[in-house]
């Protein structure tokens, strides 16, 4: 039931001492006033509380259970982060108030920037982008602006076939033509193809390393040398940085632009689809292109610097998702140097542990150790009439969120792939139980395939019909009323 179904005329959850009456307010805008609002539900406070509390209860989150969604790094979101990010001394700041009033928040942002520079080996950062794709767009616009000034023939961007869909979409939005680079049989960038494609029309290559199959590209230094030698730049998609903290830094590998997903590696919650935050780091020669304003320190005071004539401009109205940045700041301060390295190490160990336990039942896409996530195949189960989707839905009955499924779209010999990213947060007992569930499901697939085909059974709804939703497009209460 929606709130509209629960609405009763005249009920209200709002308690506020108005000092003016409506007619007075309306009298100031005689030509432009809309009719009174007659379209929001009317519910009591208790009805409202129960409605959203129960909706939250039927939602699966990291706090509910294991969420091994590959490439999304669903690690635990520490509660101290939430408490400090909700501090009114932070949330009540007006972004345009004089910087002298906001020295604390600016210091926090400045120190976060310094930490990110150290973790990635980059020279400067903007904290403005709102999430990963926004960070990618920011980074690619920086490269676009740089090439416009230095080598305007370079209008193409190379992207491996293993990349997230946001990479080509962001490159395209930044005005580039996208050229796909195939992967080799080991899952890395095909060096021969790269050698062939990397010409003087290419502005940059966008890479995720470890890539989306969880493999670290051993050729990364050779790739960097080749791309740089031919006048291109390297973009690092930090979606998978959780494998590398304290081990290796994209800046040292030769990357020129980096974006980080604070809502992945740095423990800020995902919120069912954001808000996240995706700071973008650059090498010094690109710093003048960063979006304005940039937080700086001058004579012991923190300030916002907008005096950057070559800046790409603005990516949003203000300076970024401050309360998300605050959570990442707290995470980095509490983890410290050793904690961050230990987190990456545990994430890698957990992924390899799961991979080994499950390999006899779900063969890995590549038979070599992985970093923080592993891609396994369920192709063998088609002979029982069972697809990967059925296996994923059945996992829900065991109390787990399924891994990422049907991604990445390569290589051709690994269809029906699932990408499992356990993260460092999970205990051995949790991983054992999860693997037991997937092994049990593999038996069920052979003995009782109907159990899988009709799964899930224990969720609030059974499988949802996506085709019906697209054909009978109802995306609001207004649509619903109109379609009767």
């Amino acid at each position: 039931m929606t709130l509209y179904d629960k609405s009763v005329a005249g009920r209200c959850a709002f308690s506020f001492s108005f000092e003016e009456d409506d007619a007075r307010g309306e009298s100031f805008v005689p030509d432009y006033a809309r009719a009174s609002v007659k379209s929001l539900p009317e519910v009591s406070e208790l009805d409202l509380v129960r409605h959203f509390t129960n909706l939250a209860r039927v939602n699966y989150g990291v706090d509910t259970g294991f969420y091994p969604l590959g490439s999304c790094t669903m690690k635990y979101n520490p509660k101290i982060n939430e408490r400090l990010a909700a501090d009114p001394r932070l949330t009540m700041r007006h972004p345009l108030d004089d910087v002298s009033e906001n020295q604390g928040v600016l210091q926090m942002e400045y120190e976060l920037k310094e930490s990110l520079e150290e973790i990635t080996g980059m020279d400067d950062f903007t904290l403005q982008p709102a999430c990963g794709a926004h960070g990618e767009l920011t980074g690619m616009l920086i490269i676009h602006a740089y090439m416009r000034d230095h080598d305007p023939r370079r209008t193409r961007v190379l992207i491996p076939d293993s990349a997230h869909g946001t990479n080509p979409a962001s490159a395209s939005m930044a005005g580039f033509q996208v050229v796909t680079v195939p992967s080799d049989e080991r899952g890395g960038v095909d060096m021969e193809a790269l050698d062939r494609l990397m010409d003087d029309t290419v502005a940059a290559i966008m890479l995720t390393n470890p890539n989306t199959v969880g493999l670290f590209d051993e050729n990364i230094t050779r790739i960097a040398e080749l791309v740089h030698a031919r006048g291109g730049l390297l973009y690092y998609d930090g979606a998978n940085l959780n494998a590398l903290m304290g081990l290796i830094r994209p800046g040292d590998l030769g990357f020129d632009v980096v974006h980080l997903n604070l809502h992945k590696t740095f423990s800020t919650p995902h919120g069912g689809g954001g808000p996240g935050a995706a700071p973008v780091g650059v090498k010094q020669f690109l710093a003048e292109y960063l979006p304005v304003p940039i937080v700086v320190r001058r004579d012991g005071q923190y300030a916002l610097d907008s005096d950057r004539p070559r800046s790409i401009g603005r990516m949003s109205a203000f300076y970024g998702n401050t309360t998300v940045l605050a959570r990442a700041f707290v995470y980095i301060r509490m983890m410290g140097r050793d904690g961050l390295a230990a987190a990456s190490r545990a994430a890698v160990i957990n992924a390899n542990y799961v991979k080994k336990l499950l390999a006899p039942y779900y063969p890995p896409a590549y038979d070599r150790p992985v970093m923080h996530e592993t891609v396994l195949s369920a192709k063998g189960y088609d002979k029982y009439g069972v697809s990967l989707l059925d296996i994923a839905k059945r996992l829900m009955d065991y109390g787990y969120h399924p891994p990422t499924i049907y991604f990445p779209h390569f290589p051709p010999h690994a269809e029906e792939v699932m990408m499992i990213e356990p993260t460092e947060s999970e205990s051995r007992e949790t991983l054992d139980a999860f693997c037991d569930a997937l092994i049990q499901i593999s038996k069920e697939a052979q003995e009782q395939p109907d159990l899988l085909l009709s799964a899930p059974h224990n969720t609030v709804v059974t499988r949802v019909n996506e085709t019906y939703a697209a054909r009978h497009l109802v995306t609001s209460q207004r649509d619903k009323k109109e379609t009767g």
């Binding site: 959850a13 709002f14 100031f28 432009y32 020295q103 919120g271 069912g272 300076y319 150790p369």
Partner: protein, 436 residues
């Protein structure tokens, strides 16, 4: 653990050998315990000035009253710690809440289709310009020069690599978009979109219906941007004024200002553009038992399927803030939302009359209708203003750059002055007294 599976950590990470590794650990401080962290945080936050009870500063971020149920409900771990709802059977909470958000936005903007959020008003506006270009193909857009400058800057950043030119439409002496200038620019060459903000950056409400008629006579899309979501309770937007797209920032719907983010981008449009709009959208469907269920729909536009041909690169959006806005709107209800909008409009009038009464302030635009914000000229310098207000718990108004609005004789400084429902009469009187 690795013993059980016959691996050694050194072997696993041997793949990084031959590349430049970190020697001797990162140069970061040691970690802190939770109590140490709280102490460090307190010290940091003590460097901010004290929090205020109301804000005379708007300009894109607004201080409003937030009922206690709003952060309580939106902060439920089931909402907070979930990912994007790719698996609908485990995500009905997020999905239904977003459906309700979309329903509320469709009603308040008077449009046919709302996505389930963008990042903020500025990026949402920029995406509207790109959508218009996809639909109309003319490499030129027009924008009122009285649109929030940060929004205009964001639009410029987004359109620059696509070779789309932007020209600005002048503001007339009443503070509204000059219809003559708009007509002139529309006649000069084809354009994909016209962007108008109402109330505009100076607080003046635009005659959207009249502008919409002009725009449609020239086959461009009319993009209406609201400045402050509270205005949706009192002012007309959308179908009734000829909009093709309504965008804006809905931070005012239950979200704190948070130093500028995370806010909430609204994007609402017409059903006929349902293959063209950016961002995610939730649709109603059924499960195998025929029960009502929700799922993300119209997915074929999106980056994970279309890659470089997607309508936008947007992936994560501001879903939790959309849920917050839904809780807020349900909490204040339709009568409360109307009353809040009216309270805002009336409070501004009371404040402006009081300020004019001091003899130190004067309206920059004398005749235009306003909502909860307007440009005032003043004889007070920014430092004088700040010093006089030092003992009053309000954030001072925003100084406008010189040359942005016409100069009033004897009053060389211009401020954008905002009032909301938080400016209680007692506080308002303190403000006037301090400036008298």
């Amino acid at each position: 653990m690795l013993d059980r599976v016959g691996l050694r950590f050194e072997d696993i990470i041997s793949c990084v050998q031959g590349n430049a590794c970190v020697e001797g650990g990162l140069r970061l401080p040691d970690g802190l315990t939770e109590d140490e962290m709280v102490q460090e945080w307190d010290l940091l936050m003590s460097h901010n000035s004290a929090s205020k009870k109301a804000s005379l500063m708007g300009g894109g971020a607004y201080m409003h009253f937030v009922p206690a149920v709003v952060p309580h409900l939106a902060g439920q771990p089931g909402f907070v710690t979930a990912y994007t709802p790719y698996q609908p059977e485990l995500s009905q909470g997020t999905l239904q809440s977003l459906f309700e958000y979309q329903s509320f936005i469709v009603e308040l903007t008077d449009m046919e289709l709302s996505n389930c959020s963008m990042y903020d008003g500025a990026s949402s506006t920029a995406e509207a310009m790109l959508m218009a270009h996809r639909i109309k193909h003319a490499p030129r857009i027009l924008a009122a020069d009285n649109v929030n400058p940060a929004y205009l800057a964001t639009v410029r950043t987004y359109i620059e690599p696509h070779g789309i030119a932007i020209e600005t439409v002048a503001t007339d002496e009443s503070g509204q978009v000059s219809q003559a200038d708009l007509e002139r620019l529309l006649s000069a060459a084809p354009c994909s979109a016209v962007l108008v903000q109402s109330p505009n950056y100076f607080g003046i409400i635009e005659d959207l219906s009249a502008l919409g008629n002009l725009v449609h006579a020239h086959d461009a899309l009319f993009v209406e941007c609201f400045t402050e979501a509270m205005a949706l309770g009192l002012l007309k937007y959308g179908l009734g004024t000829g909009a093709d797209v309504v965008v804006g920032d809905a931070q005012s719907l239950g979200l704190p200002m948070s130093f500028g983010g995370p806010h909430l981008g609204v994007f609402a449009t017409l059903r006929k553009f349902n293959r063209e709009f950016p961002g995610r959208i939730v649709g109603e469907s059924v499960d195998t038992e025929g029960r009502q269920a929700y799922v993300m729909t119209l997915r074929a536009r999106e980056q994970d399927i279309r890659r470089e041909k997607a309508t936008s690169n947007i992936c994560s959006n501001h879903a939790l803030n959309a849920i917050t806005a839904a809780v807020y709107l349900a909490s204040v209800g339709q009568a409360g939302f109307r009353s809040l909008a009216c309270e805002n409009a009336a409070k501004l009038q009371k404040l402006v009359r009081g300020l004019e009464g001091t003899g130190r302030f004067s309206r920059v635009f004398k005749s235009g209708a306003v909502f909860n914000e307007m440009a005032l000229a003043s004889s007070l310098t920014p430092d004088e203003l700040r010093a006089r207000l030092a003992a009053v718990p309000v954030i001072p108004p925003l100084l406008l750059p010189s040359g942005m609005v016409p100069v009033i004789a004897g009053m060389p400084y211009s401020y954008l002055v905002c009032a909301t429902e938080l400016l209680k009469d007692a506080l308002l009187e303190q403000v006037i007294a301090a400036l008298s």
